[in-house]
Amino acid sequence: MLFHDWLKDDSKIILFDGAMGTEIFKRGIEPGKIPDLLNIEKPDIISEIHKSYYDVGSDMCQTCTFGSSSLNLKKYKLEDRIKEINEKALENIKKVCLPTCLIVGDIGPSGEFRPPVGNTTSEQWQSSFANQVKILENGVDLWHIETISDIEEMQAAIRAVKKNSEKPIIASMTYNKTPRGYFTIMGDSLEKCIQILEQKKVDVIGANCTIGSNDMIGLIEESIKLTNKPLSAKPNAGQPKIDKNGKPFYEYPTKDYARDIHDMINLGAKIVGGCCGTSPQTIMEIRKIIDSL
């Protein structure tokens, strides 16, 4: 399988895609309550965004299904449309995926917490993710479970994938940088997360969102000391700001972002890409760096 070949090839740095939401806003589209619904309402826009990433050199892009698990859809009263949304998402990315590239099934957080923060159980998480996985399994080459802040929720998602699929898993937690190191908001340390993710035998250990690329360098540096697993990094392009017209923008320069990614590759990151605030332009800059290595 292509992804495993890439992982085995020491000279290969795998280029992921950049932000989906940021690109949707740029096209002047109000995403309504959940961007995932645009898979049905504006499929051409979603395909166009995927295509823009494949075209500038992404080796793999992820489906627009960040919020398309049962629990999350339920909050928007869309749980009965889970099949339709995930199937359309597959259709939208398949249309534009290049022959040498891969499709990644994107699984985001449920938005629900376990006690004492919320009331959700591991079983509820697992069943919610499983509903999504069963649909996406028909078209994806591998999985990206991302932006998870509770290692318990991550484990539930991993179980949901492994029960329904044999495809590789990239497991990305989202961390804050604290004076004591990198922790999720639920208090899971980088060390603890990596240890558990190793035990759960995911294929790639990752981090995405929350922190910008400059802070992600330190996280990769720490991670490399803790594991021999391949590492994935999808940081933000700084923090969002609002301009005078009420439009969001990210002020961290693309050049600086690409330089930070270069540092992460030098440290040993195997998969690189972007999260909030990144664009095809960002990915193109990173492509140039990878090609020059």
Partner: protein, 215 residues
């Protein structure tokens, strides 16, 4: 045991997230007819402030913060009916809080509501995806001092501005203090909206609420 020692024990029970101990001490204060106001402010108040400081310092995380606030709240529910001289003194102020329409992210808003309650504010949490008009209607009906509006998405942040615009249109913007929160919210955005304040986290939100009401 001296009063100071007793208050310290309460504060420690909160910081150690020891629910049984905190409840036991609250009941003891009631049984012994201690000054309940002091028990709340010097004992429990100090405890939750220490929890807040530990959260600020990155020592405590969301589960500890929520658990500490919950224990505090449960003990306050026990103690408040026993306040000497009636329960009038119990509230620092009234707050209506909501995540704005189009945005279903409720966790940050819930944390702020929980902390405000734990510190002694009377909080009306309207939940998530709440229209600006409804937030204002509730604020008027409940006669609150502060309106808190949360937004996690850069697209829904505009709804925060709408709340202030409606208040101005109705000519009642001087009746309420409006505070904004959410990951993409900055002090610059607050200034642009004409809101009264911004807090980066729940502990800061409590301080902000107190300073706006000159407490």
């Amino acid at each position: 045991m001296s009063q100071e020692k007793f208050y310290e024990e309460i504060s420690d029970a909160i910081v150690n997230l020891n629910e049984d101990k905190a409840t036991e001490l609250a009941n003891k204060a009631i049984d012994k007819n201690f000054n309940i106001l002091n028990v709340i402010e010097v004992g429990f108040g100090a405890g939750i402030r220490r929890v807040g400081e530990l959260w600020d310092a990155g020592e405590f995380f969301l589960p500890e913060l929520m658990r500490g606030a919950k224990i505090m709240q449960d003990c306050l529910d026990l103690l408040i009916p026993h306040l000497q001289g009636g329960i009038e003194r119990k509230t620092l102020g009234k707050v209506v809080i909501a995540t704005i329409e189009g945005d279903i992210h409720s966790i940050g808003k819930t944390i702020v509501a929980t902390m405000l309650r734990a510190y002694g504010f009377e909080v009306y949490d309207l939940g998530a995806d709440v229209p600006a008009e409804k937030i204002i209607d509730e604020a008027i009906e409940k006669n609150v001092d502060i309106i808190g509006v949360s937004a996690l998405l850069t697209t829904t942040m505009l709804g925060q501005k709408k709340v202030i615009e409606i208040l101005k249109k109705k000519g009642i913007s001087n009746k309420f203090k409006v505070i904004l929160g959410g990951a993409p919210v900055t002090s610059k955005w607050v200034e642009e909206c004409g809101a009264d304040g911004y807090a980066g986290n729940a502990v800061e939100a409590v301080e902000l609420a107190k300073s706006l009401l000159r407490i």
